[in-house]
């Protein structure tokens, strides 16, 4: 668990664009042996949700939001040695943002959570065209596919992606999640067979352990 005053310091440094302090807070937590998932959920995710909220309420500009995201993306590199060094079971997951979707931090966290739980988590990136995704699935033959959606208006692109994946890979487990589902849409994706909505990184971990 990360102390609230440390989180507040991290958030204010993030909003001020002070990458150095954010790096040093993250490094200290890693050195103290704080679990990676705590750093992800209680620091990175919590701070970025707050940044998103501030942007939605027009209290910070889009450039500050981009800067904060860029800083957090850079911080991921600090935890990678711990994530990728874990023992692997041979199971694979491919994680992608759907077409038109430019937000990628959430998807990347999902791929990393798979890694932490002994899976190979391949993150494809933002705005991945459908055919590229199908090609990659065919190449990697994953046990699960994760699709992340941040903007509700891209729901159609997400369901198109699910449909085309389902047509080509009928048995592939698909999990979906992301900030877009705060505004609804769970019932839309749940209609597809083999598609599970995941509401948080903690419930993702529970799902992974069941597989």
């Amino acid at each position: 668990m990360i102390q609230n005053d440390l989180y507040e310091k991290f958030l204010s440094s993030l909003l001020a664009g002070d990458r150095g302090i954010c790096v040093s807070i993250t490094q200290d937590l890693i050195a103290k042996g704080v679990p990676v998932r705590d750093i992800y959920v209680d620091l990175f995710q919590k701070a970025l949700y707050k940044v998103g909220e501030l942007w939605e309420h027009n209290r910070i500009s889009v450039s500050v939001e981009h800067m904060a995201t860029a800083i957090v993306e850079g911080l991921f590199a600090l935890v990678y040695p711990a994530i990728f060094g874990a023992e692997h079971s041979g199971k694979k997951a491919v994680v992608s943002s759907s077409a038109n979707e430019f937000h990628q931090v959430g998807g990347k966290m999902v791929a990393d959570i798979f890694e932490l739980n002994g899976w190979d988590g391949y993150y494809l990136g933002a705005n991945i065209p459908g055919d590229e995704l199908l090609k990659f699935i065919d190449e990697k033959k994953p046990d699960a596919l994760g699709l992340s959606l941040s903007i509700y208006f891209h729901m159609k692109a997400l369901t198109d992606t699910i449909e085309s994946v389902r047509n080509s890979f009928s048995n592939l487990d698909i999990i979906v999640g992301g900030q877009a589902f705060r505004w609804g849409g769970i019932e839309i994706v749940s209609k597809f067979p083999g598609v599970t909505y995941i509401e948080s990184l903690a419930s993702l971990e529970n799902q992974i352990r069941k597989k």
């Binding site: 981009h66 993306e73 990678y80 990728f84 990628q104």
Partner: protein, 368 residues
């Protein structure tokens, strides 16, 4: 005009991040703010305004632009590098014209989006790289484990082959055919080489697995090396090569792993002998200053081309130089040597000999 120039050079305008230019009705620039001078890379005063721009119509008529006063025009600035698009507005001030140029907002938004995408891309590549790196590390550990197991299991049977072929050579019955004697020699030489190769592979796998541990003792290093030189003389004599030893008078006792340093000396001296022609000398020298023990092994062989020297210290990093008596090399010896020296906190390098050949010099630091 004077008033406007003062305004242009005021603190606020110096800090401004937009273009502010004053020109006459002919389009000659009378003054420009620091930002305008800075992005074009020159003092604009006295220049024609149209020369500041790219793709500006030759038939420039200021009145065309003044006609729509208050309305903006997207024009490209000549920055000396990539052109930048600015949103220009023209305002009249008596017979003068004030030009205000702000960076195109759409372009800024595009730039920001591109920067964000590049940052995403960089983050993804960094993740991919670190994932690949972790996978390679795991494969390397597996490789070392496999190498260690295979080498260990091969060493014992090879040692038996080598020992029994030795017995057979020592106790050859009278009248044995010369050809059969040669077969035995080949078995002995080849098994001996293979045992050496396997021992080197074991060393390399230990080193790569980070298991190179030193058993440090307070050692009379000069005496240790002299004894080793003496043992190597027997092998060198087969090629009629002499090994000389010289040592400075007072070499301090140094903390080192004696077996590992003997391994280093065996490698360096046997290499020197391998690559030296007959009737030459290999010189081993030991010196010391207040901080370092320095040992050098010099030969009179063909030398090593400078471009190939670094490669020699990598595993299997063979060079174009060939041994003079057909001796085989595993290509691992110098890599092991460097790792042992580095583990002692020292370094090894190779230089040209005074007249010919190569000199391998290593140092081992110590505290006085």
């Amino acid at each position: 005009m004077e008033h406007f120039s003062q305004y242009l050079n005021s603190y606020v305008m110096k800090k401004a991040s937009f273009i502010l230019i004053l020109m006459d009705s002919e389009g000659i620039i009378l003054d420009a703010n620091e930002f305008a001078n800075s992005i074009t890379g020159r003092a604009l005063k006295g220049e024609r305004f149209k020369n500041v721009l790219i793709d500006f119509p030759d038939t420039f008529k200021l009145e065309d632009y003044l006609h729509d006063e208050g309305k903006g025009f997207l024009l490209n600035i000549d920055t000396g590098g990539l052109p930048e698009t600015y949103y220009f507005q023209f305002k009249t001030d008596g017979d003068k014209v004030i030009v205000i140029g702000e960076q195109d907002r759409m372009e800024i938004a595009d730039l920001r989006k591109n920067m964000m995408n590049l940052n995403h891309e960089l983050g993804n590549l960094s993740r991919e790289l670190q994932k690949k790196n972790a996978e390679l590390n795991k494969l390397n550990i597996l490789k070392n484990r496999f190498l260690g197991m295979a080498a260990h299991d091969l060493r014992s049977p090879l040692a038996i082959i080598e020992t029994y072929s030795d017995f057979l050579i020592d106790e050859l019955p009278q009248g044995i055919e010369e050809e059969h004697k040669e077969f035995l020699d080949i078995i002995k030489t080849t098994s001996s080489f293979m045992r050496g190769l396997i021992e080197n592979l074991l060393d390399v796998s230990m080193i790569e697995a980070g298991k190179l541990e030193l058993d440090l003792v307070d050692s009379d290093s000069s005496q240790l090396i002299e004894k080793n030189v003496h043992l190597n003389r027997t092998i060198a004599k087969r090629k009629n090569i002499d090994i000389t030893f010289s040592s400075a008078e007072s070499i301090p006792r140094v903390s080192l792993d004696e077996n590992k340093i003997l391994q280093v000396m065996n490698n360096l001296i046997s290499n020197a002998v391998k690559f030296s022609p007959s009737d030459t000398t290999v010189s081993v020298t030991v010196t010391a200053d207040s901080e370092n023990l320095t040992v050098s092994v010099a030969d009179e062989g063909p030398g090593v081309p400078e471009a190939e020297r670094e490669k020699m210290f990598s595993p299997f990093g063979r060079t174009s130089v060939r041994s003079t008596g057909g001796e085989k090399c595993t290509g691992l010896g110098l890599s092991i040597v460097r790792n042992i020296i580095n583990a002692h906190g020292g370094e090894i390098n190779i230089t040209d000999g005074e007249s010919k050949g190569s000199v391998f010099t290593f140092n081992i630091p110590f505290e006085s």
